[in-house]
Amino acid sequence: MNKAISTRLTFAVAILSLLIFIILWQVIAQQGLLVKNFPGSFKTIGSLIWWVSDPFFDNGPNDLGIGTNLLISLRRVLIGYSLAVLVAVPLGVLMGMSKLAQSSLNPYVQLLKPVSPLAWLPVGLFVFRNSEITGIFVIFITSIWPTLINTAFGVASINPDYLRVSKSLGASKSTTIRRVILPAIMPNILAGMRISMGTAWLVIVAAEMLLGTGIGYFIWNEWNNLSLENIFVAIIIIGFTGFILDQFFGFLQDKFDYSI
């Protein structure tokens, strides 16, 4: 089959399936097949247009534009996440290079990694007495593990030839780390950062339901207003933002893929 036709066909199928989904949703909601008063797709799309056309209004903390809330969430994620990367990468390099660091830190990593980051929320509130910092703290804890583990794994499985070249030239430890190890493990670091970002974006919504302001709080607030169509609007926007963030890391990963 011709490739141009094939892409055009794929596009047409995608549009068609979206239309079918919207129509089915509308019909099911209108007929009350699911539950009574379930918002239909037309109403949801109407809300979406309303929220998106004026995204940045501010009528007090319980009535913020969806764009404002989104930016609040993004800010928390970016700060907590960046701090986590700043800690995770050096720590991961250390764990990958030193047996001693590996064996002394790994038990804590293995123990803490499976814990839901939300368990740290009360700890954060108790220590910081501030919901903003607590949110950042929860994201920090969330983001640290995948990047840390991937970095450590990258260092441990680095092609020994690179290290031998560096050693045979008499390179110092710091030169080897900066000029050989870090570039060599860039793909691992980025893979870890991508997973970290994905998880952070999942967790921020849940955390904000308890913290006030942000896109998560928006959902909680609309639940209190019993406005399900606004919740759907938030779901669409959260999904779209997460997709963009993920694509950004996908793009970076392609840039640093040495194998192709």
Binding site: N159, Y162, V165, L169, G170, A171, R179, P183, Y258
Partner: protein, 288 residues
């Protein structure tokens, strides 16, 4: 060529360029934190033992032996990448303590950094060895060595864009750029096809003639050793491999790869090497 002030200009040379004394290497198993089975005595794998060898300045020496005989271990020890368990390595009358820019190392898998371009790979070596050199100096010197291996046009290409032979030429340029007086090569042409291999062998010979370096080449190809070397060192099968023989190859240079095969002297040495390798390989295969 610019002068090499780093090299010692020893007028009275009563020592060889490279001397190995009773060299041995045992790889110990890493001890686990809790190990119930082996209490106390650390048993290890003895790769090589009692290696004694003298290599004269500016000669080309090949080390040949059955696979797994510890050839690479020996080269790693000379390069200073691993420390010997016993014995010592003396270069220009001085015992070595680790790796150094007096020895350029070339690996079988080229070992180019994939995130650096061809010229950047060479610049990395230069910057590491000569941190005082200016950027322009480093660039000029890197370019010079790329030109020497005929790859100046590929200077901004990444290793993944190069063929195996081109990659190995970059690796040779990198090793020579730091101006070593010894070149250590670990089966450098093992992964290349026959034609590229012949081409690079000729290239290596002409580089060796021009650059005045001592070459230690690990190989498992008898023809390669015969074509290139002044001396061939035969190793026995491992573990605990030793040097079983040293053979001087006094064939006239330059050697022509077609004509050399008619030389009765060549054939005599070749037969001897084949017999030895066959015997040692049989020893390996029948043990396992």
């Amino acid at each position: 060529m610019n002068k090499k002030p780093s090299k010692k200009s020893s007028s009275i040379e009563n020592y060889s360029h490279l001397e190995l004394f009773n060299l041995g290497k045992i790889f110990f198993k890493e001890k686990k934190f809790i190990d119930f089975r082996s209490k106390g005595n650390r048993s290890g794998f003895e790769a090589i033992k009692d290696i004694n060898l003298k290599i004269e300045k500016n000669t080309f020496v090949s080390i040949i032996g059955p696979s797994g005989c510890g050839k690479s271990t020996l080269l790693n020890l000379i390069a200073g990448l691993q420390a010997p368990t016993s014995g010592k390595i003396v270069i220009d009358g001085q015992a070595i303590k680790g790796p150094g820019p007096d020895r350029g190392v070339i690996f079988q898998n080229y070992a180019l950094m994939p995130w650096l371009t061809t010229i950047q790979n060479i610049e990395f070596a230069l910057n590491t060895v000569f941190p005082a050199k200016t950027k322009a100096d480093v660039k000029e010197r890197a370019r010079k060595y790329l030109r020497m291996v005929g790859l100046e046009k590929a200077s901004n290409k990444f290793p993944k864009e190069l063929s195996g032979g081109m990659k190995q030429r970059v690796a040779i340029a990198r090793a020579l750029s730091i101006n070593p007086n010894m070149l250590l090569m670990d089966e450098p042409f093992g992964a290349l096809d026959a034609l590229t291999r012949s081409y690079l062998q000729d290239e290596l010979l002409s580089i060796w003639r021009k650059n005045k370096v001592t070459v230690v080449l690990i190989t498992h190809s008898i023809e390669e050793a015969l074509l290139l070397s002044d001396k061939i060192v035969l190793m026995s099968s491992g573990p605990s491999a030793i040097i079983s023989e040293e053979i001087s190859v006094d064939l006239e240079r330059p050697r022509d790869r077609e004509k050399i095969e008619q030389d009765p002297n060549y054939l005599k040495i070749k037969m001897r090497l084949e017999k030895h390798l066959l015997r040692e390989t049989r020893a390996v295969e029948e043990v396992t």
